[in-house]
Symmetry: C2
Subunit: 388 residues, 2 copies
Amino acid sequence: MIIMNRKNIAILGSTGSIGTQTLEIIRNKKQFKITALAAGKNIELLESQIREFNPDLVCVYNEDKAIELKYRVKDLDVKVLSGMDGLIEVAIYQKTDILLTAMVGMIGIRPTIEAIKAGKDIALANKETLVTAGHIIMPLIKEMNVNILPVDSEHSAIFQSLNGEDSKTIKKIILTASGGPFHGKKLSDLKNIKPKDALKHPNWEMGQKITIDSSTMVNKGLEVMEAKWLFDIDIDKIDVIIHPQSIIHSMVEYNDGSVIAQLGVPDMKLPIQYALLYPMREELVEGESLELTKIKDLTFEEPDYDTFYGLGLGYEAGRLGGTMPTVYNAANEWAVAKFLEGKIDYLMITQLIKESMKEHRIIDNPSLNTILNTEKETYDFLNNIIKI
Amino acid sequence: MIIMNRKNIAILGSTGSIGTQTLEIIRNKKQFKITALAAGKNIELLESQIREFNPDLVCVYNEDKAIELKYRVKDLDVKVLSGMDGLIEVAIYQKTDILLTAMVGMIGIRPTIEAIKAGKDIALANKETLVTAGHIIMPLIKEMNVNILPVDSEHSAIFQSLNGEDSKTIKKIILTASGGPFHGKKLSDLKNIKPKDALKHPNWEMGQKITIDSSTMVNKGLEVMEAKWLFDIDIDKIDVIIHPQSIIHSMVEYNDGSVIAQLGVPDMKLPIQYALLYPMREELVEGESLELTKIKDLTFEEPDYDTFYGLGLGYEAGRLGGTMPTVYNAANEWAVAKFLEGKIDYLMITQLIKESMKEHRIIDNPSLNTILNTEKETYDFLNNIIKI
């Protein structure tokens, strides 16, 4: 393992929750240099990031916003790009060592594939990439001999718990789940849930989409599929347990019965920094120490698969494979957006995933085009059955 | 790291709790061969071990018992030795790759030193070795470039949690303690404790001496000192927390705030097997899987340093160093033996450690002779003040 003195980092999704926390870390670490940034449309924040971190290259996915940004930063020596071509140019920028992929949705997949082909290490904070295209990404990672470093707290916990161990000796991966804001509720309690209720996560500060996904446990369904690819393990060897305190971030059980776990106060900066510094560790600026004697109690329960049946659907999609995980993800993405706009009821989110999966005919081993097409077909199906 | 297909194992203390559990593991593992065994005086059990495992060499520390055993196994091709010379011959036997040191007390130190000098890896299940002679053992381990593999569940947990990590990044080692059978009690509750009360450990099946030590938390004091040597860490970076369920066996906190822990059902066979197989893992025969959703609750508290002040004395002895840890250990050994014989009260155990430490004038960097002399002086002191 070569430890580089300086790491050049590019970020896809620099204005989101993970992106901004990543930049907070980099602000305090002299060994990092930001080479390129990409965002969807928040050019106000992107402009201030450019002024602070001096990337060579930025991309705004929205073309009009890109033109506006270009004008705003015309005093600076920075190249401003737009659209998918711009994202890809950011992803493969030759000065970059490690690309952090933190854009929400399927938009990040193509740039991620191109970055791997260009030999970049990937710090992965985009779930859709492995959920929908794990069968494309993982062989490519191996072929190009690059590292894929999970940023999700659960997958980072597993990655840390696996440190140095032979993966053949894994008996089980145990993903912990907080249970979200509706832990303990039954379906009948969830009828009139409004976006503001679902956006109150008990432990983690995260983006809106992932907070809703956490409340339905669809987030955990996606994580199960992601773990399957990331750690090359049969999906039925991945367990989910509810652990409301979110202190144990996940665990690995080995064949001898020994369980290695990673614990910490819930703070996304820890897994982000671990991914960027791996295999080193450094002090986390403003990080908190875990004080188990103050927390006093860690509790564990089986998930309620009846109320949160989106989790079971995730296992089903993962077992079926092919294009089914894309349907699961796309239907959820569509439904969460409509729920946040106040256009569908909370319970419809999981219901629509179920309907979409029932409707779908699986295509095995899909190409990226087939995956993107499946996403579109799922949206069309939902737009057809739900007239808003 | 060279992985050997076959490991030749010798055991000092084969008839004790750790010794017999080790042989249960080896019974099921074809890659292990027992080369030599040593026991104190239980020749009935030793004979049956000889008949099952066919060692080339055995030692019975007690000379009369050795003669008796020699007669009993005269039909077999096994060399029977006795006394300290015999223990050393077992320890350095040339066919051995790894020596498990599981004799209780200071008797194991000299054979351990000789084994290291002879290039053997050490599976360490004898606390006194590092507590009293860590300053001799650890440099020798380094010089001879052999492995020292902890068998204690707590130290094995730390060893497993450190797997592959840079020890410079350790912020803290967190030793868990069950609290023993008297957890929650105050000094006044412990006045009339009888051996049978103190021998009821809530979670672990262990030998008598260690079970009493666990009830007074002197065991944890010894473990703190052992961890200091084993992991080359300042004693004030070692925390003890009470965790009555004994599921988290210990933890390491890194400088980024990440905590890695090893968990499992309380079963000494797990750390024993890990030490013997390291760095590999294999299924543990008759091992149980950890089911956190059945256990439901893991709790944590600060130790009660007033009631269990033997723990604080352990820290003090470890900080003072030199011959003081030997005094701590010897006074405890003497007092526990007298308590088990019904000759002193339970509360006298810790009280006598305190008195012995107060009386002692520290000799820094003691030789093995000085250590053994200090043990003898401590016994003499106690025999003088307690007339039984």
